[in-house]
């Protein structure tokens, strides 16, 4: 009966020659040449074939992670790295739990992340909606809006330093021209973190804009037409059609932006180095100081792992929250 199906017949004949994959799959035979199957065995061949990629992944992700865990359990410093560092178990974590500057850095990171996300997301969504409605304007303006995202963080940092300069900066020059008092953007302990947030919003908004604009394009027009037929206003259509369908994209965007912002370090290093008076000392900056400036590699590794846990927790939280909202 099998011969009634010409495809099967063809597959069998190709199988005999070690031919096309589809045919082998139909018979439950691995789609690889006979000599490979003979050399590695039918059952183990797939594992052997993915092994190089697994080894690569292990060497660039799993191994560094495990090594970082190992380093965090030692008192490894630049002064004992050649001699061998003593194993201290969880002492670095214990020390971290009793380190007031670490808690301070978490608070600063919270301000920085929340401020950046609120600004980036609101502006990004607004611009994405405008571009979605006005394709002509989008074609014209999109390349300009993307510029901050493609610039190097270091260049962005230096550009904002100049703009924020109290004496010679562009922003204060504008304020003076309007008869307003100049602001100590980077010299004021209260203002400095918000100055960084503004710079980061400027840099990150294009990413959110592009991401959400792409997601908006995937919403079928029929849904808006149906809503219109049902008498929905523009706001109602946005509230009941656009937002629910954007949720998966919003979740991914928020996860990415949160992690990037929490880990952001280069712009802060250039603009404030954590100052004034630790007012912009984020956790990423604190980790850098300990590991690379002070040469306390073990302690720095412990901070990194705690940051990783925080990132993972935030990602889970987003996924659960948005997942629940999508299903209800």
């Amino acid at each position: 009966m099998a011969h009634d199906n010409p495809a099967t017949t063809d597959a069998e004949s190709r199988n005999a020659r070690g031919g096309l994959p589809g045919a082998h799959a139909q018979r439950g035979v691995l789609p690889f040449p006979v000599f490979l199957r003979r050399a590695f065995g039918e059952r183990w061949l797939p594992y052997w074939l993915v092994l190089p990629m697994l080894a690569l992944l292990f060497s660039v992700t799993v191994f560094p992670f495990l090594w970082n865990v190992w380093v965090s359990l030692q008192d490894l410093r630049s002064t004992n790295i050649l001699r061998g560092a003593p194993f201290v178990g969880l002492r670095n974590y214990w020390q971290l739990l009793h380190d007031p500057l670490f808690y301070h850095s978490l608070k600063v990171s919270l301000y920085f992340v929340v401020g950046s996300i609120v600004g980036q997301f609101t502006l990004g969504l607004l611009i994405a909606l405008i571009f979605h409605r006005r394709p002509g304007a989008a074609r014209l303006l999109r390349p300009v809006f993307i510029v901050p995202w493609i610039l190097s963080a270091i260049i962005i940092g230096y550009s904002w330093i100049w703009m924020y300069d109290y004496n010679f900066g562009l922003i204060n020059a504008g304020l003076r021209a309007l008869g307003l008092p100049p602001v100590r953007w980077l010299n004021d302990v209260t203002m400095a973190i918000w100055a960084l947030v503004i710079a980061n919003i400027w840099r990150g908004t294009p990413f959110t804009m592009l991401f959400l604009e792409a997601a908006l394009k995937n919403i079928p027009d029929e849904l808006y037409e149906a809503a219109q037929v049902d008498g929905a206003t523009g706001w109602q259509a946005f509230r009941h059609v656009t937002l629910p369908l954007l949720r998966p994209a919003v979740a991914i965007n928020l996860i990415l932006v949160t992690m990037w912002t929490f880990n952001l370090f280069d712009t802060i290093l250039v603009m404030t180095q954590g100052g004034p008076a630790n007012a912009t000392l984020t956790t990423a900056m604190y980790m850098y100081n300990n590991a690379f400036k002070y040469g306390l590699f073990g302690y720095g590794a412990a901070i990194t792992l705690v940051m990783l846990l925080i990132n993972a927790a935030l990602a889970l939280l987003y996924l659960r929250t948005v997942g629940r909202a999508t299903t209800t």
Partner: protein
Amino acid sequence: MRVWRSVRVWLGVAVLALGLVVATGGGLAQQKPVVVLWQSEGYGLEAVEGLIESITGVDLQVQEFPYGDLRSKLQTTLLAQDPGVAPDLTMVDSIWLGEFVEGGFLADLTGVVADAAGDWFPAFRDGSQWPPASGTYYGLWYDTDVRVTFYWPDLLQQAGVNPGDLLYWDTFIKACQQLKAALAAQGVGACWLDMAGGWAPDFEFFPYLWQEGGEILVERDGRLVPAFNGEAGVRALQFLVDRVRAGIDPQTQTFWGDDFAQKKWAVYPHGNWAGSESRFPGTTPRERQQTIAVLPLPVSEPGRVPVTLAGGWIMTVPAVIPSKAPERFERAKAVLQAFLRADVMTEYYGALARVPVRAGVDNAVLAEKIEFFDFYAKMASVARVRPAIPQWAQVADAIFQAMSAAVFQGVDPKTALDQAAQQVERILGQ
């Protein structure tokens, strides 16, 4: 056709061979042994490269790294303990010495440099040893920089300020206020005040602490303890707070003297590089001396001796070179000894306008080549240096945080310094 193709092939081969011969210097000429030296960007040992090569007969290859990268580049490279990747010689910032020696990265060079160190000024001779003044040299501190007060005389004149007012704390503050009132409208800052990073104490705290008779750290019962929070430290920090309260804006970004050269500040307490050709390109020392002027950092009252802080670089050899490549160590020693000759160092100081760390160099030659040379040399001879302990970066940061707390958060100087001292005690005790 075939003949022509063959001619073209042979012609090509001949050109290639000729190119190779030219590129390898004729192939027959004897190769000079290579000595690789790592330096921080802008500290041009290449200025005396030819001179050292002619003395030693080696091919000295100077490789530059940005300041911020040199420390980590050295650490990661020397960690490999492989002479194949390590340089033969390297310069290290004087404040890295303790960390690098304790880490086992540097070679004991006592037998190589101890004799040469005889005419070094004491601070630099002691600072070349670890522990300081222990008799064990890990290189030789070969140049330095001093902190001084630069100013534009024409701007002071325009504001009606007497340069002598910049010599004492109280008159300094009044002069800055006067300058601010006169120059703000034309977009010129009055007095630079550096609060830009972990180096700010070098400019705004340590020199004044020392002037007042204080110390950063002292040894007690065989261990280092903080001393910067004593009376002298409180007075030094109060001077900083007084300046800010008087309207001198603390600057959280630094341009390392470029802004002074662009005449954006009237008074600029800074390192001597701020008055050098690197900041005033195309000018001669004489022209710079006629354009800008320099004074010691201000003191609290007449009779106090101005003290400055000196930084600088130490020329050293990675530990892996003598232990695993002794023949390269011999060449590195030859280069080091050639560089430390008074005539070579005179050439080096003159070419780069660096401040000498020793007597014995030709001051008459240098006075022609370096602006304000006599003044800088005098300041260097009485300069103080920071303790090059492995935890220095942490200690400096803690002190900078005390300064920041006093300046930006209004914390009382004594309280701020005591808090920093507690932190430093923890750091040193770890």
